[in-house]
Amino acid sequence: MRLNQLLPCLLLLTFHPALLLADERLSFNRDIRPILSDHCFACHGFDAKKRQADLRLDTAAGAEADLGGYQAIVPGNPQESAVWQRISTDGDDVMPPEDFHKPLSENQKNILRAWISQGAPYEAHWSFVAPVKPDVPPSTEGNPIDAFLRQRLSEEGLQPNPLADRPTLIRRLTLDLTGLPPTPEEIDAFVANDSETAYEELVDDLQSRVTYGEHMARYWLDLARYADTHGLHLDNERSMWPYRDWVVRAFNQNLRFDDFTRWQLAGDLLESPTRDQLIASGFNRCNVTTSEGGSINDEWVFRYAVDRTATAVEVWMGLTAGCAVCHDHKFDPLSTKEFYSLYAFFHSAADPAMDGNIAETPPILRLIDESDEAKMAALRRQAADIDQQIEQRLRSLDYVDPALLDPQPVAESIEEIWFEDGFPEGANVESSGGPPLQLIAPENGAVYSGKLALRRKADAQIAQDFFAKGAKLRVPDSGKFFAYCYLDPEDPPQAIMIQFHTNAWKNRAVWGDQEKINFGKPDTTEKVHMGDLPATGQWVRLEMEAKQLGLDAGTEVSGFAFTQFSGTITWDHFGVAYQVDKAKDPAWSWQVFVEQGVATIGKRLPDALRRQLQGRNYDQWTVEETEQVRKLWLSEIYAGTQSVLAPFKASKQALEQEISAIEKASPVTFVMADLKKPRDSFVMLRGAYDNPGEQVQRGVPAFLPELPGKSDGSPLNRLDLANWLLRPDHPLTARVTVNRFWQQFFGNGLVLTSADFGSQGQPPSHPELLDWLATQFIADGWDTKQLVRRIVTSHAYRQSSELTPEQLARDPDNRLLARSPRLRLDAEVLRDQALFVSGLLVPAVGGPGVKPYQPPNIWEPVGFGNSNTRYYKQDSGSALYRRSLYTFLKRTAPPPFMSSFDAPNREQSCSLRGRTNTPMQALQLMNDIQHVEAARAFASRIILAGGKTAKQRIEWAWRVVTARQATEPEVGIALAALRQHQSRFEQDANRAAELAQYGESSPDPDIAPEQLAAYTMLANLLLNLDEAVTKN
């Protein structure tokens, strides 16, 4: 998270005037704990290891313990209390010690003294006690939110602002609920709607748009640390966008927040999970991962689990668990052991330590759409038909085992031909280094056998004919390859080579000057030198032992190549010779095959069958098992059927390829899954992955509600954790959640530190309101749309954001909400707004990340050489104008339009973005091609739709951008600028044309470039207005 606006001390002063009234009752949580936490707990708090003088001040028992004749705190008696003595002294033993650099102010000392006088009552930390629904204060305002806020305002003697005017209101609400501005038509309709419920109707309308989910999702994706790359080292692409689209869907369907939670933390553990539930579980997979060479696996398994734990704890409990990775939390009662008990829920995740630098790191879910499902089903049926036909063939087979014949047949020599008149059936033949494949007949040259031979003439370079897919051949036992070649005596090659392709080109035989053909590592099976070139002008038989080339018996060869350097050669009659002794050959004799034992034949069997048969001789197999193996042998191994079955298998393989092609083309998303056998989890001492301490079981911190073991004795899992978070008496989940939605609309949460509800965080500005919202949220069935509706229909939200000097002085941070906040729009909203008003926005929903305009050299200077996200390849056409939500996010080099406006890089969870105001932002909004092109397109609209005169057009454009009417002086200023631009561009048509043509979309040809350029500058001006980049 980013949190740039921590509560300044000013606020405490606002709430707690320096002059403490004698009879004012102090609250431990509100008044005392923040002081103790900030100034004392580091040495006298929960962390036993760092505790000094054996004194803890975070509990009453600790503070009142007998320290050998004296007590730190004697309730009611400051003078007797060591705490007071030590903080009020001027001596060297003053507390906190000088070198702690956190002295107490006089006011803080007085508060502590008064508290001790009042009996030093302790309270449990406010956020660790379940909220009880408070009564709504009596009020004339219909919305309870306002009742709570008004009570506080009147205590402070402040008046809330009146309602904002309708144009301001519709712009504010439309931006807040959809991330886009309203159209002039929508503004007109809203202004004209005099129904009492006009505003509520507008809320309903906006919440029903698909853009609502898109906008709401954006905030959640910051928390989920969603991105399109792995984030570490190579930072390669990751396929995760279906999760992003699910979040959009979930908000649009108003998925209850309890289910929203359950699905994301544990969708994979729900009973028969739906596709969406599985996609949602990808929340746990959005963390950064690595595949850096040299990494140590244990370290990364540990780190991923820590990240997942800390993220879940921050997102749902608003606590900062990270500290407890290494030591007991100093400020909150979270021990290291308790942290690792939470960690144990995530520690058995099934994803690998190394992501493999692939886009589909398992476990994944393939999302095949319905029409593809149907297509695949049809293909599977066809494949089943073929199986049927194969089976029929096998049934009609009259097999006699040669080993059982008497006498047994003698060994015979067999030559299996791999090339005769052409490459094998189905082979995908290619050629390089010259013209395409040329097969010659006897009338055109020497042919050794059959009808045709392969001839190739090469210039002084490597040339070859080959295939690497489409046909498969098997290397027999003790095979010896042979080939016939004819070297042209007038033009002999300098080197010739035969190459074999298995999973790659790895086995080669070469004759002649082997350096001429620079494939493979010499003196290995990648390149075996067989000798000098054969004699020219005659057919020569070349021979090579399969073993010598590193091709073991049974190896599947998926291609071969005839290669040469220069010269002319004819190849023919290539194949493999071997001896077959059918009575002793497992490819011919069933008996011999099974007698080899499962250890040997196992690799030819499916895994399940192999495991089933493990350790048993064939004579111990059941009839069914024997039948299963025999069927497999006959169809896959028995040499007598292979040629008959080959065409069937080829067609089946084609079907399977088609199926897998469809699968591969279907989107993938990461999902969560646990290992079958959970890992043992330990406290990792000082947070070191290789330093395990005490073993821990899954469990929750003691200061929170219990999570009892399961009645059936099965281990607790993430689903139990999720359900525990959603217990109505859980003190944190609902509070943290409503607070974050509040923050989304008001800029700040009721608890300013929305990611820290612990004692270092800020107490809520309106505790009763927070508790009311939290309990009501649960009572409403965790209804998110309802919660949002409640917030945006409050007067507090709808009031004007105008700021009086009094308000600024009294409540500079607007904690009391006597005015609506003015907030700079987020990165995505700024870009989307420009696209929207320009008419360029392409509203398509969902899909893989797109790559819009980005300046050169954002990815390249940082990208790793082998990374597949090293080079940014900008998209074109409609992909340039999609909503920013869909921009491809590379974590190690995020898009500048995002990062310069405070969007996080998604390396870790972010609960609150900063809101900075920098010159880099100004440069971007003025000069970035996407903003200039949008201004140009907006200029066309201004000219065509804005009216006839320049004044009318300015008025129209002003309304499109700000939703309100421009004042006379405003129009005057804009008009003066437009006139100057016009006269300058009229004097320099070239400059006008350059500006008018910037960007990929074409300018309107009916508008003169000088006009278009001048209005582009006007549009650029309007889109840069403080009012345009701000929610008013």
């Binding site: 140590i296 500290c323 700079r824 300046p855 405003e970 804009a974 600028a977 500006l995 500058m1017 403080d1026």
Partner: protein
Amino acid sequence: MNPINEFVREATRRQFFAGAGLKVGGVALASLLAQRGSSIRASDEPASSNAARMHPPLAGLPHFPAKAKRLIYLHMNGAPSQLDLFDYKPGLAKYFDQELPDSVRNGQRITTMTSGQSRFPVAPSKFAYTRCGESGIWMSEMVPHMQTIADEITMIKSVHTEAINHDPACTFVMTGSEVPGKPSLGAWISYGLGSESNDLPAFVVFTPTFPKDSQAQALFTRMWSSGFLPSKYDGVALRGSGDPVLYVKNPPGVDTRDRRIMLDALNQLNHTNYARYHDPETLTRIAQYEMAFRMQASVPELTDLSSESQATLEMYGPGVNEPGTFASSAILARRLVERGVRVVQVLHRGWDQHNRLPKLLKDQCLDVDQATAALIKDLKQRGMLDDTLVVFGGEFGRTVYCQGKLTREDYGRDHHPRNFCMWMAGGGIAKGRTFGETDDFSYNITENPVHLNDLNATILHCLGIDDRRFTYPFQGLEQRLTGVLETRVITEILA
């Protein structure tokens, strides 16, 4: 209209457009800002003496008088071999191709790239070493130009880190944490000290070109990011191609005059808006647009080297006039600090020599050696070395044992986090000193270890910052660049 508002509006406008205009506007603005901060925390508010600055320091900073006013950090990404550059081990020659003694390795963890090797043969450096200058600091023939600045630097031979792989180690060396998300050194410093330039960013980063053949590791924007600090403290990349600063150029067809017309109107309209809402943020925005406009002039001026003397250009060596090279980045680094920029970071890639080390290391040194030495000399001749801190080093070291095939002429080295060399020069740093020692194999530190956190504490110290007191609240903790454990300023290397 409210008469008070009207008065404020008029007053502001008059000041804003008066006299020298922008500068005066800045003052007026700052005084308004001082009433109530902009988007920054209360404690970020400018001290009054700094009111006219765009990047004021934090109140109370520096903690004590600083020796160095600015930092130039030359990061050699990928881990340069200490054994072949600065850590002279003449005794290794006799161990050539012999097994690294177990007593030296001592079961230390090694990366999975070499943990499978059956042998760990010692690879002595093939390069000749010289004692340099009066101080006699050892340097190898790979860095002939750095040899000439030996008397200006302190060589630390005993730096160590915790990470064993590039990504976590780079993240650690630049942010003090292996886990992404923490602010970088430069961001911390610009957060604390601001910058003296009103026309340029406070923290500028270069990612220069590197030898084509080299084994380059990735960089990460997190190495100059603001982490959990406000994003205005992000390092701004000064780029070798395209716009030197992102979006600093007007779009085609738009010239400075056009931009000024637009900005004048924008300022007037934004003042009108201020009169309506009285939002101090609006005034900040007006000032930022003006700074953006000034940057449009100051950045081209910065990158235009025509005012540099021929002698100076030659000193930086070939490539100095070629945008994007290390030499060009080095001279621009000097020009930036001259103009008040607080931190400049140059991240040069390609130092990861797992094999072919002698050849590839030579290429790397050719890229940086001359310009690095020139930068020190150039700062010195301008009297700026005394208050400019320069740091040179990588993210970890390399092993004495060979990775891959070993010959006298050719070898490779794996990652070695247990000790490596860095040097520092300038503001606050002793001249011509060597600190820390390693064993005969450059495998273990034998005296004066310097943890990276201590090194960073020392860098901050030179800049007048006490790292223990330099904190930012995040995730419930007073976060520090140097982490939660005790740190030590290495006083022995201070002048």
